[in-house]
């Protein structure tokens, strides 16, 4: 009874859009013809699949997800390992680490767009001091992809670091002492004790970031709008364009459902994995 208002709110803001999108994906529903009167079954899905640029967008997304998650993991784990040894000023390091996470992604995008501005940005000014030529961070098709990846890393790496740090802090001390008595070097301790013991935390951190990274939209929307060309055209932005530039809500819905299925599969795997740990 008492949960009824909460449930109703959830229905309204989550379940309704979900069901609406699913429902719409089977109709020829465009913003020029916003009616559910033309049932076309799987035609939207087929159209989306045959779309010329979908493959490119998927490829950009895969590259983006892999690059950002792998680099975030490498940096995050290094930072966590270093911080795990620190005792003094721990709170200050935590605060600094957490700061980017507390910023809204849209603000992150705006901030970096200004910092990276070709003529007026502080980044180009600073590298200019070292005699390096200005870089067109967001306008050059080759550079823009990595710029977006780096901004995402800047924003999200602390999530990885904090999660891994929590895992490291909870590791038992004794196996390390036993290994010290056995004569294991720090490197061997890392390979034979830290990595295997951290495996569950590492898996969860990677999967969570993977799921979040696939859905990345905000910084693309603010910084590059998928460009230049299709250099940063992530799938979420691709769908957005189909809906609000192509005005084809039905097809965008179909692609959303596809994306949702991928994320759901990953989430199910994460859930299963976490359950298997018990």
């Amino acid at each position: 009874m008492l949960t009824a208002p909460g449930l109703a709110a959830l229905m309204l803001v989550i379940t309704f859009p979900l069901v609406f999108a699913f429902f719409t994906s089977f109709y020829d529903y465009t913003l020029l013809h916003p009616y559910h009167d033309d049932f076309i079954a799987l035609e939207n899905y087929q159209e989306a699949w045959e779309e010329e640029y979908l493959g490119g967008s998927l490829w950009v997304t895969v590259k983006f997800v892999l690059a950002s998650v792998v680099i975030e993991f490498a940096i995050g784990f290094s930072v966590a390992l270093a911080l795990n040894k620190v005792n003094r000023f721990k709170t200050i390091y935590y605060l600094i680490l957490l700061a980017p996470l507390l910023i809204n992604p849209v603000v992150v995008g705006l901030l970096w767009r200004m910092l990276l501005h070709t003529e007026l940005g502080i980044v180009n000014y600073v590298i200019g001091l070292f005699g390096i030529r200005s870089v067109n961070w967001l306008g050059d098709a080759k550079v823009a992809f990595w710029t977006v990846v780096l901004v995402d890393i800047w924003h999200q790496v602390s999530f990885m670091a904090i999660l891994l740090l929590a895992g490291l802090a909870a590791l038992p001390r004794e196996p390390y002492e036993a290994a010290r008595m056995d004569g294991a070097s720090a490197f061997r301790c890392f390979i034979h004790i830290t990595l295997p013991l951290m495996r569950p935390v590492i898996m969860v951190a990677l999967l969570l970031r993977l799921i979040f990274a696939i859905k990345t939209f905000d910084i693309i929307f603010i910084m590059t709008k998928g460009g230049p060309g299709t250099a940063t055209d992530l799938i979420s932005y691709f769908i957005y364009r189909a809906a609000f530039f192509g005005l084809d809500i039905g097809r965008a819905s179909a692609m959303s459902v596809g994306l949702l299925v991928i994320v759901l599969l990953l989430t199910t795997y994460l859930y299963r994995y976490m359950r298997s740990l018990r």
Binding site: E174, A178, P196
Partner: protein, 366 residues
């Protein structure tokens, strides 16, 4: 095998937390030494300093005459068995045993030979392919022990290895450890807070309190002649009765006034007791030295029965003296008496102990 010598060893944590305070201890080659004391007495810290897992703040740690203070734990060639076993969780039992040997570049055939020998010795052959989480506590304990044995170190360090086992398993492992010690003739330092372990396992025991050594000696010697009221009250269960008393008497005579009962002390034992004439003392007598029947050399004590605990093989009588001080007596299993009734106990005069009430140390007799 090795001789371990601690000279003025001190451990200070942070700025001013003194965990171990200037202790001297000599552990002989092939000796089974038990470090005994309540939690927080510094016994584990002492062991960890010997192992090299804690730095020695000051003093000198020698193994076979060589200074070890700054030697890496791996190079001390000691093996430690931890209270919670500390097995490598993702490795099989076999890999757990092999880990230290592989790191020491022992040849593959030799590793296998030693694992098989150790496994046979501990009866864990059929567990070799399993992982620690598939083992019971007792089995994990054996594997932890095996990991130490397989290394063939110069000495073994046991950090309360039996305290996580249930009573029955603990008793069995106690016997097993004694057997292993006899077979290998290895130097063993065993830390425990369990006085039964200390009494039964150790060739010598070292009793610690507040970071200091209170008494070192053979178990029965320590049991018979506790150095102070702490040791007297710590060993055995129920522990020694420690009762407030006074020494009275005219010149040439000396008697203990225990709640109005006078216990005459034979002149031969007066000696150093003279200085306590007319002063308070602590009178100590073990529950097993109180009897229900009179005999030569026993002095009567009038008490009131508080409770009678029948334990099966024996009966523990809790009784009160005239001044309401309580004491325990271990009596034969046939004993019974109504609660609240008056009763006469007989104390073995030979087995009495006297302690200084301020310093709490035993008053040397004679």
């Amino acid at each position: 095998m090795a001789q371990i010598t601690l000279k003025g060893i001190t451990k200070v944590f942070g700025h001013d937390v003194v965990a171990v305070d200037n202790i001297d201890l000599e552990i002989g080659d092939g000796e089974f030494m038990v470090l005994l004391g309540p939690s927080g007495c510094g016994k584990s810290t002492t062991l960890r300093m010997i192992a090299g897992l804690e730095e020695v703040t000051s003093g000198e740690l020698m193994i076979d005459g060589k200074r070890m203070n700054d030697v890496d734990p791996a190079d001390r060639d000691l093996a430690i068995v931890f209270q919670n076993y500390a097995l490598y969780p993702h490795m099989t039992v076999s890999a757990n045993l092999a880990f230290g040997l592989r790191l020491r570049k022992v040849e593959r055939d030799e590793v296998e030979r030693r694992i098989n020998k150790t496994a046979a010795m501990l009866g864990i052959e059929e567990l070799l392919a399993r992982r620690p989480k598939e083992l019971s506590g007792g089995q994990q304990q054996r594997v932890a022990l095996g990991r130490a044995l397989v290394r063939n170190p110069v000495a073994f360090l046991f950090d309360e290895p039996l305290s996580n086992l249930d009573a029955k398993l603990r008793a069995a492992m106690r016997t097993e450890l004694i057997k292993i010690h006899r077979e290998l003739g290895a130097t063993i330092v065993h830390v425990t807070h369990d006085q039964v372990e200390a009494m039964t396992m150790g060739e010598r025991m070292c009793i610690m309190r507040d970071g200091r050594i209170v008494q070192v000696g053979e178990p029965l010697e320590v049991y018979r002649n506790p150095a102070d009221t702490f040791v007297a009250g710590f060993l055995a269960s129920p522990p020694m009765n420690l009762l407030k008393a006074r020494l009275l008497g005219r010149a040439g005579e000396l008697e203990i006034d225990l709640a109005g009962t006078g216990i005459a002390i034979p002149p031969a034992r007066h000696g150093s007791l003279e200085s306590y004439r007319d002063k308070a003392v602590v009178f100590g007598v073990r529950p097993e030295d109180l009897h229900a029947e009179p005999a030569p050399g026993r002095v009567p004590l009038d008490v009131k029965v508080v409770t009678v605990e029948a334990l099966g093989p024996e009966v523990v009588l809790i009784a009160s003296l005239a001044d309401d001080q309580e004491l325990a007596a271990r009596l034969n299993r046939g004993f019974s008496a109504p609660v609240g009734s008056d009763f006469r106990l007989y104390a073995d005069l030979e087995m009495m102990h006297l302690f200084d009430p301020t310093s709490e140390t035993a008053i040397a007799e004679g």
